[in-house]
């Protein structure tokens, strides 16, 4: 059975075409559209919010995929990608221009709450103000940071050259230790008038409940603000949660992120297109194969090439193995957060080891696979790989999935800890731009593999599991069900596995990518991993942005936790399944 993307009824206009959407906007707001093309609709900045609201309310563009910005040196451009979860298909692109001096555009948080962290990120790294944003502060960098690193005129402390390859490496390439290039061996630049003693950081925002609410609950405890992390084993990495507590009840959570920030975007712009591949491994280091795939898909869109059949199958096999192991470990970690220390997690890890063995034998590394290439994959798989993979997929992993379900989902203590905890209602899940299992657990049947099938996913028969209430329990069982679906896809892929080439065209170490821009995405185990890439026709991307699903899923954390106990908050965080490498980028 082959399943295709949902098709709109014949008489409704095709809203996946930006031109048609632009015409629709013009009927309501005649002078809002500056221009429109296949690359996107440019809107007047003063009418942006109205247009967004119109798209959201009337044209059912209810999901904000991605917010980013481009520095065109004479102006800034803020880019929004919107989709309709109902209709599916590729996202449309909305753009607004901002002046180079004091850039500012209206905030879209009143329409899409999922814009919250993303606009803060744009403000932080590009310096564009979002008027009307409820909490516009730096998010990834520290508050006293000088400058806006994604601007083209920014130079970092170890700045060497605008683009790689650096001229100093060859053919007279004497080695210099990077720290030696900086007089104080220090990679922090301070503002010129910076006084470390007098410096006071702006206060973190604290959520406060009003007096009436407190009286209604008749609590005689005091409110306390607790800093949770950044060095805390249950925060899944270096994440700080600023929690307002009343007794044991959570009244507000503010995630404070950026401890692992390295400006992946800027590194990506210095790198060549090919050189970015191993860096994508380090985003969500649990799912490097899937990250590779999403990046390769995006650049292939610009290049206009397609990998050969065999490579497509290999890609799907790798991506689905990745999904299985990611979910297994995520479930183990949720159990860890519940207090069932390590036994279920280690059981999951064991199976993961076997999958990683396969990755290692093919790609050369267990976690940092660097395996996909533009137009194919780096190495062919061996017969031994196929044999082992078949055994895993047909025998071992289904058995393990059943076992895992029996001892994890069957446990009554788990039921009492997970049911009706951390509820994220459907409309909030959509409005917060959550993605992946978190979105589906809230009852939204949306999976990019179906909504905008990439690679060869349209050939396989599989279901999209969804939850009903959007509680912790649903987020758990949706993952278990997805593991089964992954095995189903793997079984089909292995049965149909063709012989042939694994690469289109020749290997090229400096791929020149035609001028253009593309938003490409893949359904990663954690949600929609998107890449927004702008090419100016050279071997280095002009703009390279990553939409990290973990980062955006965190936006919803506050709403999921308020009203529950602090012990639940840890599990709710676990059920988001975040990886800090991707949150902080």
């Amino acid at each position: 059975m082959s399943v295709t993307a949902p098709v709109a009824p014949p008489n409704t206009p095709n809203y996946n075409d930006p031109q048609i959407v632009a015409e629709q906007i013009k009927t309501k707001y005649p002078d809002a559209v500056e221009s429109s093309s296949a690359q996107g609709i440019v809107v007047q900045s003063d009418q942006l919010r109205e247009v967004a609201r119109y798209l959201h309310d009337e044209l059912a563009f209810d999901y904000l995929n991605n917010v980013t910005s481009v520095d065109w040196q004479d102006r800034f451009e803020v880019v929004y990608n919107l989709t309709s979860l109902e209709r599916g298909g590729a996202p449309i692109t909305l753009k607004v221009n901002a002046a180079r001096e004091n850039p500012s555009v209206p905030s879209l948080v009143p329409v899409f709450r999922g814009a919250d962290f993303q606009e803060r990120e744009v403000y932080d790294l590009m310096g564009i103000r979002f008027e009307g944003h409820p909490n516009l502060r730096r998010i990834l960098l520290w508050d006293g940071f000088e400058g806006y690193p994604l601007r083209k005129d920014y130079k970092e402390p170890y700045y060497e050259e605008e683009k790689k390859p650096f001229g100093s490496r060859w053919d007279k390439g004497h080695h210099v230790i990077a720290e030696d290039r900086n007089p104080w061996h220090d990679n922090v630049q301070y503002p010129s008038n910076f006084d470390a003693v007098a410096y006071k950081p702006p206060r973190d925002q604290i959520q406060v409940i009003d007096a009436a609410q407190a009286a209604a609950m008749r609590l005689r405890t005091d409110k306390i603000v607790l800093n949770f992390g950044p060095q805390h084993p249950s925060t899944h990495g270096v994440l700080r949660l600023r929690v307002t507590l009343e007794g044991e009840t959570v009244r507000g959570v503010e995630p404070i992120v950026g401890y692992l920030h390295r400006n992946h975007d800027k590194i990506g712009e210095r790198n060549t297109f090919v050189g970015n591949m191993p860096y994508t491994d380090r985003l969500d280091y649990f799912t490097s194969m899937a990250n590779n795939l999403a990046y390769a898909l995006t650049v292939e869109k610009l290049l206009g090439i397609k990998p050969p059949e065999r490579a497509e199958y290999i890609r799907v096999i790798m991506a689905e193995l990745t999904r299985w192991q990611n979910h297994a470990v995520a479930l183990g970690f949720i159990y860890n957060d519940l207090g069932a220390f390590y036994t279920p997690l280690i059981y999951a890890m064991e199976e993961r080891e076997l999958i990683l063995d396969l990755f290692e034998a093919t790609a050369g590394s267990r976690m940092m696979c660097n395996y996909m290439r533009f137009g194919g994959v780096a190495r062919d798989v061996t017969d031994d790989f196929i044999a082992k993979c078949k055994y895993l997929v047909n025998e071992r992993l289904p058995r393990r999935t059943d076992e895992l379900e029996a001892y994890m989902v069957g446990n009554e203590i788990f039921h009492s800890r997970a049911k009706n905890i951390g509820v994220l209602p459907r409309d909030l899940a959509i409005n917060y731009s959550t993605a992946g299992p978190v979105l589906r657990a809230s009852g939204v049947k949306y999976d990019i593999r179906r909504a905008e099938p990439y690679s060869i996913y349209d050939r396989f028969d599989f279901e999209i599991p969804t939850g009903t209430t959007g509680d912790l329990y649903d987020r758990f069982i949706v993952r278990v069900a997805e593991m089964r679906e992954s095995l189903k896809i793997l079984k089909q892929a292995l049965d149909q596995f063709p012989a042939g080439e694994i690469m289109t065209g020749k290997k090229n170490y400096q791929v020149r990518v035609p001028k253009g821009e593309a938003y490409g995405r893949g359904e990663n185990p954690k949600g929609e991993l998107g890449f927004y890439v702008v090419s100016d026709g050279t071997a280095n991307p002009y703009r390279y942005h990553v939409r990290g699903p973990s980062f955006i899923n965190l936006t919803a954390l506050n709403d999921m936790c308020v009203g529950y106990k602090i012990a639940d908050m840890i599990v709710i965080l676990g059920s988001l399944d975040i990886v800090m490498g991707e949150v902080d980028r």
Binding site: D171, K172, G173, N276, S365, Y391, Y509
Partner: protein, 209 residues
């Protein structure tokens, strides 16, 4: 279902796992590190605990495994065509570096951790040979791009992963001496790749004639 049955059912799995883990140990009672048992346990059919007693036990690395690259050189040969051995180090003596100092690896290297100085002829003309070759292994991300794109098969990824050191500045900057390893070493750790390269070379030779 009565409360607690699911929980007991779960405990059944942990109990089985404990049993399976120790069955293997009893089968080989007295032999602490058993090769056969080890292989069995680490295979896709293994059951029970997976723990590797590192460093007494080590997992074998697959051929494609990659850490820090090395440079391949052709050994110097004696009159019988046997490689000459340097008595001081016990290593094969360097006859010729395969590297032509073309610079592709240093250009493709994503974190730019390769530094190459091209050799010059006495007249000051560039020579297809590296005079110096550095890799800063603190920066190297073991991505394998250099080995993948080198057109002369002269840089390959190594299998040695125990790189810990007491000092990180001098000893972590590998120069050409540390990096160079004989072609026989490459053939040993990468038998499949080596065979493919040899076949390609033979085909090219045949074409020339």
């Amino acid at each position: 279902m009565a409360f607690g049955l699911g929980l007991l059912n779960g405990l059944k799995y942990t109990a089985t796992r404990v049993f399976k883990t120790y069955v293997g140990d009893f089968k080989h009672l007295g032999r602490r590190y058993d090769d056969k048992l080890f292989k069995e346990r680490q295979s896709v059919k293994g059951s029970g605990i997976f723990t590797v007693q590192y460093p007494e036990e080590k997992l074998p690395v697959p051929e494609n495994f990659r850490v820090v690259p090395f440079l391949v050189y052709e050994p110097a040969l004696d009159e019988n065509g046997k490689p000459l051995i340097d008595p001081a180090t016990g290593k094969e003596m360097i006859g010729k570096q395969k590297c032509t100092a073309c610079g592709i690896c240093s250009k493709v290297c994503p974190p730019q951790c390769i530094w190459i100085v091209r050799a010059l002829t006495p007249e000051g003309k560039p020579k297809p040979q590296p005079a110096e070759f550095y890799i800063d292994i603190d920066i190297c991300m073991n991505c394998g791009s250099c080995a993948e794109f080198c057109p002369f098969d002269s840089i390959k990824m190594d299998h040695v992963y125990e790189l810990a050191n007491y000092e990180r500045h001098v000893s972590h900057i590998y120069d050409i001496g540390v990096l160079s390893k004989p072609a026989s070493y490459h053939a040993k750790i990468h038998p499949t790749d080596w065979a493919a390269e040899e076949a390609e070379r033979a085909a090219k030779e045949a074409k020339k004639k």
